[in-house]
């Protein structure tokens, strides 16, 4: 295997992806990502100088519509699906600073 991914790299990417991985998951993913990225070397190694990238397969223009008030999702129905809601809003744990 020529592509080696360290456990520290896995932990860094997991932090970017907001995944609280257990240690055994870190070890497994280091191996798996190495194998998959190794397979991807055929693409990484191609000389594609001057070839434009394609982000989207079909040429599309932005679609605009008049900015008119229309019915939207029912707020009570949406909040009913939330893990926690209060006063018509989503409730989350502390975002910054120390607990009061």
């Amino acid at each position: 295997m020529s592509t080696r991914i360290s456990w520290d790299q896995v932990r860094h990417v997991a932090n970017l992806a907001r995944l609280a991985l257990a240690d055994d998951e870190v070890a497994g993913l280091a191996d798996d990502l190495g194998v998959i990225l190794d397979h991807a070397q055929d693409v990484a190694a191609l000389d594609l100088e001057g070839i434009p990238p394609t982000a989207h397969p079909i040429p599309l223009e932005n679609v605009l519509r008049p900015d008119e008030v229309r019915p939207s999702l029912d707020r009570a129905e949406v909040l009913a699906a939330a893990p926690e809601a209060e006063d018509g809003r989503f409730r989350v744990p502390r975002i910054m600073g120390d607990a009061p």
């Binding site: 970017l16 907001r18 693409v43 990238p53 129905e77 893990p83």
Partner: protein
């Protein structure tokens, strides 16, 4: 298929009042009740909703109204299509118990056409997989041999149609997730042109690749469902704004030019019987008056690698929304960042985490150009190479899957071996084109084999014509 078991046959009988939609739905619900403990193709059976919808169709017929082209036809929905008030899980713990506050456009349209949703079908979690073994609720089994997988990720939809739960199902196809399970279960599966079918209400996996399409027992039934769901949609700005041309019922392929794609037929690990099936189909098409030749589409050889960079990259972005705030699972923690990370670790399965990690890595600083950027350029090459092939050929031909259905557990420990199941179907998604799988006999192990018919963007009409011809050839 007898006329009374196809969607075309059922709709005709219900529209004329010869059969009631209720009796049709009750018959199919009985099949689900008899077989699903063994097959586990369904996450949720919509018994009450289905019977109420059937009664509404019967009432419309009794009033002398047009009950629609799908009148009384049971349809199974992949469980990544939102259905208001009905559980929609994507076979993930993170959405277990969620009931969407809105309904997908395709589901609204099939209801308008008189179709009757009867169940939500099992899938690989968030449609990531090729065997339906990545479901948080357990695998689906292949109705032809219950020790084997049905393919994936729309394995529940394909197994449901093969087992007679419904003559029609909807799936989604990001790299082959409709066509590969259709092939492994011996049914027809269609990946329409990107944008031809609205994605509104389809839970997003890889937004530049995802497309909803039909599974059916016959090519004509697949056409009936596709024509009911496709067309522009104000709720999806990536939907093609023009009205599609009707598919028609042509079977004549005289003078048509058909190319067998070398890079998708001489692939690593292909079963000799699968390759032989494509050759027999080609010979049959040739005998029917088509001109069949081999063609090289060189960059297809890089499709798999490019896909497993692009799709995970898009998935890592799309799945950021599962953060324990607005819906689904939450694992409590002292602050919000820890809550997000713990929720996502507990809620996602191993394959979903693998793809999120792969995608985040491929997009991260220092690696973006080498991986994601290169893959996007390969996508350009694939589009160019297909365009050249379509200058010489009306449609292309290949296997759908390199092998017959494999045993449960055979590939779960080796992600790369699992990914190779999609090697023949992936290039179509990268190009945004249309392709479909048509059952064509059985392989060495007596299990179904599928032949893939590929067509350019918005080439559905010619693709269905060739598919009908393949269907008519005795395998």
């Amino acid at each position: 298929m007898t006329a009374t078991s196809t969607a075309v046959g059922i709709a005709g009988a219900v529209r004329s009042g010869e059969r009631s939609a209720r009796s049709v739905v009750e018959e199919h619900l009985a099949v689900i009740a008899a077989r699903d403990a063994e097959l586990h193709a369904c996450n949720h059976v919509m018994v009450d909703d289905a019977l109420a919808t059937a009664d509404a169709v019967d009432a419309a017929v009794a009033r002398g109204e047009d009950a629609g082209p799908l009148a009384g036809v049971p349809v199974v929905l992949k469980d990544n299509l939102c259905t208001r008030g009905v559980p929609t899980t994507c076979s993930s713990r993170i959405l277990d118990g969620w009931r969407p506050p809105y309904t997908a456009t395709v589901v609204e349209r099939l209801l308008l056409a008189g179709g009757i949703p009867v169940a939500k079908a099992n899938l690989d979690e968030f449609a990531m997989g090729s065997s339906t073994e990545n479901s948080a609720f357990g695998p689906t089994r292949n109705p032809h041999d219950t020790s084997r997988v049905p393919g994936g990720s729309s394995g529940g939809s394909a197994a449901a149609v093969a087992a007679g739960y419904a003559p029609l199902a909807l799936g989604s196809d990001t790299g082959g997730s409709i066509r590969q399970p259709a092939a492994l279960c011996g049914v027809v599966g269609v990946k329409p042109t990107y944008g031809r079918v609205s994605r509104f209400g389809l839970v997003a996996f890889a937004s530049s690749l995802d497309q909803i399409g039909p599974l059916a027992t016959t090519v004509d039934d697949a056409a009936l469902l596709l024509e009911a769901i496709w067309g522009p949609d104000a709720m999806d700005s990536t939907a093609i704004p023009s009205q599609p041309e009707a598919l028609g019922g042509d079977t004549d392929i005289a003078g048509m030019r058909i190319g067998i794609v070398e890079e998708l037929t001489d692939v690593e690990g292909i079963a000799p019987e699968v390759k032989a099936a494509v050759e027999r189909a080609a010979a049959g098409l040739d005998a029917a008056g088509a001109r069949v030749e081999r063609v090289s589409v060189p960059s297809c050889a890089y499709g798999l690698s490019a896909y497993y960079l692009i799709a995970p990259a898009e998935a890592s972005s799309n799945l950021a929304r599962y953060d324990g705030v607005r819906y689904g699972l939450r694992v409590d923690a002292a602050d919000v960042a820890e809550m997000n990370a713990k929720t996502r670790d507990a809620g996602f399965g191993a394959e979903v985490k693998r793809r999120i990690m792969l995608g985040t890595y491929a997009l991260s600083a220092g690696y973006y150009d080498a991986y994601y950027g290169q893959a996007q350029k390969v996508r350009t090459l694939i589009i160019r190479d297909f365009a050249q092939a379509y200058e010489r050929f009306d449609v292309l031909l290949s296997p759908t899957s390199p092998t017959e259905a494999f045993p449960l557990g055979a590939k779960t420990a080796d992600p790369l071996a699992m990914y190779l199941s999609d090697v023949c179907t992936i290039p179509t998604n990268l190009a945004g084109h249309s392709a479909m799988s048509v059952p064509f006999g059985t392989g060495a192990e007596g299990l179904p084999v599928g032949v893939q018919v590929l067509a350019p963007a918005q080439g559905e009409s010619v693709m269905f014509r060739v598919a009908r011809a393949v269907e008519g050839i005795v395998a």
